[in-house]
């Protein structure tokens, strides 16, 4: 049996009573996945990322959504938010907190939308993430029966972040999950949506998520993807964004966890004045592999994009950054800036970076660049000259490198968590978190 057949066989475990709009989609996804098979390194888009660990794995589907209470408390973000929790891809009503949603805000599990036969949801799902995008998108489409649906009526500004927490469990049979996230933002609506991937240490599951974000005129979505899964977890994600006139999409793609993490982020700027900001960070160690493929399509004149990805790589970690900006013919007066800077903390760490601009218009302002380097030795020396020992000096400079992206993060809970994680991973006993707190206290005083 081929690998695709083996994966698709698990479909028989699925419920048989899908509404017809779901069943049809499932079949299309399965057929496409079977035809494409898993990508190999001969595929340009997968040149640096070997997915055999996934293709050769044996993943069941989870059958219950129980999760250890103490672990849950330790993993979840301490944030006042509307929370929707999936455990190994299954909705946990018990861990979720969706009470008190304001008028015009719908946040529900995909299974609830399917049970209620919400055809509007069916109409939106798959509009951006076609089964041809990648074999993983097709695979997700074949399986997806759980996820988060977020829909905002025009003009609604959501008072609290919408927090989707996806947990992965350890022990027993490895499982796969194919969650689906749909964010439909009505005209001039505004919300912050967090996708947080976390779980038990030593979880070794496969998560294959697809996110679709539709922004109507003037809508603003702040989208956080915080990847903190176990260093043994496998993760493939694609995020597809469609922006109308004057909308704004701010992406914060923060990668700390996972053994293999691949994220595709694609935005179509389809209306004048639409603006996308991509902020990315990957901090990897051991044998972690993180691959970010980003694409911005400037399809309309006077659209703007600004991308800044930073990578810190230690040990034998491997990072991939492929950032493409495409400017369509006649998409005049656009601005597109892209930068990727990487810091190698070990000489066995590896980064493959490729920023790419493809421009078919002439009246544009664009720049792109990639730098990879070590810490500035003069700066290390200057800090040592004040009595700071070398590991601490390197830690401070690494935190400073990461800080440029973290300064953009508006949710303090996330910024602090990432800074603390970075500080905790640095080869140093020193309490950088304490420094950060002191600095904050002085600022407030």
């Amino acid at each position: 049996m081929s690998a695709p057949e083996r994966f698709l066989e698990r479909l028989t475990q699925r419920r048989a009573d899908d509404p017809s709009w779901v069943a049809a989609r499932r079949q299309a996804g399965a057929a496409r996945f079977e035809a494409m098979g898993f990508p190999t390194r001969r595929d340009e888009a997968w040149k640096y990322t070997d997915v055999r660990r996934i293709a050769e794995g044996d993943f069941a589907l989870a059958t219950d959504a129980t999760f250890d209470g103490a672990h849950f408390e330790a993993q979840r973000l301490d944030i006042d938010a509307y929370r929707l929790v999936l455990v190994d891809g299954l909705f946990s009503a018990e861990l979720s907190e969706l009470e008190g949603l304001p008028d015009g805000v719908q946040v529900e599990a995909l299974s609830q939308a399917v049970s209620a036969n919400h055809e509007a949801v069916g109409g939106a799902l798959g509009r951006l993430a076609g089964v041809d995008f990648s074999p993983f998108t097709a695979l997700n489409t074949a399986f997806a029966d759980e996820g988060a649906i977020v829909r905002l009526a025009p003009g609604v500004v959501v008072d609290k972040p919408i927090y989707v927490l996806l947990l992965s469990r350890a022990g027993g049979q490895a499982v796969m999950s194919h969650p689906r996230v749909l964010i439909e933002a009505g005209a001039r609506s505004e919300a912050t949506v967090i996708e947080h991937y976390s779980g038990e240490p030593e979880a070794a599951n496969f998560t294959n998520v697809v996110t679709e974000v539709l922004l109507d005129r003037g809508a603003i979505i702040n989208h956080y993807k915080l990847q903190e899964a176990a260093l043994t977890d496998l993760h493939v994600a694609s995020i597809h964004v469609d922006q109308s006139r004057d909308s704004r999409f701010n992406s914060y793609n923060l990668n700390l966890g996972g053994a293999l993490v691949r994220t595709d982020l694609v935005t179509d700027l389809n209306g004048e004045g639409a603006e996308a900001a991509y902020n990315g960070l990957f901090f990897v160690q051991g044998r972690q592999h993180v691959d970010n493929h980003t694409l911005v399509n400037h399809n309309s004149p006077r659209t703007f994009s600004n991308e800044n990805y930073k990578g810190v790589l230690d040990d034998r970690a491997h990072g991939v950054f492929n950032g493409k900006v495409f400017v369509k013919q006649d998409a005049q007066q656009i601005e597109a800036y892209q930068n990727n800077a990487n810091l190698l903390l070990s000489d066995r760490a590896e980064i493959d970076t490729k920023p790419e601009l493809v421009i078919y218009a002439d009246d544009v302002k664009c720049s792109h660049g990639a730098t990879t380097g070590q810490l500035d030795e003069d700066a290390v020396y200057a800090l040592r000259s004040r009595g700071i020992d070398e590991p601490m000096a390197r830690a401070l400079l690494t935190l400073a490198f990461v800080g440029e992206v973290m300064d953009k993060v508006r949710l303090n809970v996330i910024a602090e968590r990432v800074e603390r994680a970075v500080a905790g991973r640095l080869p140093e006993r020193f309490n950088l978190a304490d420094l950060v707190e002191t600095a904050e206290a002085i600022q407030e005083a």
Partner: protein
């Protein structure tokens, strides 16, 4: 406190210091003057522990310890600090991080615990006010986008927080207007105490109008050729260095 004996230093096989002797006692301010290229910066850099200098002969003792056996950070923690002529920018590292990490490193070396946050905050706010630096400077990256004068005041701020036993200041007055010079000088004067010492490296006398030295040394071609009290600085200002050279050659 500091005892430099027969110090010979080469840089890339070129002899720069050629048998230099200098003794500084606690409570004293010494000024090293001399023409460009004489080796003044080299002397302070070698005492502080900067890389790239080879000591081929001689000793440097600081409170009886052999400085040449110590790493630069150990020297700083022991109380030997050099204020740089050209302080570098450290993008992203907040001033406050540097100050706290440095102060705690020094305390740890003395076997003391970390400074409590409120005490630290009070200290740095006070000292920045003394240096006429707005508290917002504490949140800014070290020297990033600072003017020349701000960089120099920031060097002194570090001294005021870290309270070195021996503060060495290399051309701290270069590029300062008169108001900035007064702020810097009053900062340096406030470091003065019976159990501390200061070594000023300068090429002009004008700084010494604001910081009165106990001893003035003339460094020429790698050696101290003449020492005296503050009157010597005035004489150098009036007559230049040539007469000292002639006198020492005679």
């Amino acid at each position: 406190m500091l005892e430099v004996k027969d110090l010979h230093v080469t840089v890339e096989d070129k002899a720069i210091l050629k048998g230099l002797n200098l003794t500084i006692n606690a409570g004293e301010i010494h000024a090293i003057m001399g023409p460009n290229g004489a080796g003044k910066s080299t002397l302070s850099a070698v005492i502080a522990g900067k890389d790239g200098y080879e000591v081929t002969q001689g000793t440097i003792l600081f409170e009886g310890q052999d400085v040449l056996e110590m790493e630069i950070e150990e020297r700083a923690r022991a109380g030997l600090l050099l204020g740089f002529q050209y302080p570098i920018e450290i993008p992203g590292v907040k001033n406050i991080y540097l100050l706290k990490a440095a102060l705690n490193a020094q305390r740890a070396a003395r076997g003391e615990g970390e400074i409590p946050a409120p005490e630290f905050m009070k200290l740095v706010r006070e000292k920045s006010a003394e240096m006429k630096l707005d508290p917002s400077f504490l949140q800014r990256a070290v020297n990033e986008g600072f003017s020349g004068g701000e960089k120099k005041r920031n060097e002194i701020l570090q001294m005021l927080v870290l309270q070195p036993k021996l503060a060495m200041l290399d051309e701290i007055d270069s590029g300062l207007d008169i108001d900035a010079m007064k702020v810097v000088a009053s900062g340096v004067n406030s470091l003065r105490s019976a159990d501390r010492a200061i070594l000023l490296v300068t090429h002009y006398q004008r700084l010494l109008n604001h910081i009165e030295p106990d001893r003035v040394h003339v460094l020429v071609d790698g050696r101290i050729v003449k020492s005296g009290d503050k009157e010597l600085a005035l004489e150098l200002e009036a007559r230049g260095y040539d007469w000292v050279l002639e006198e020492s050659a005679a």
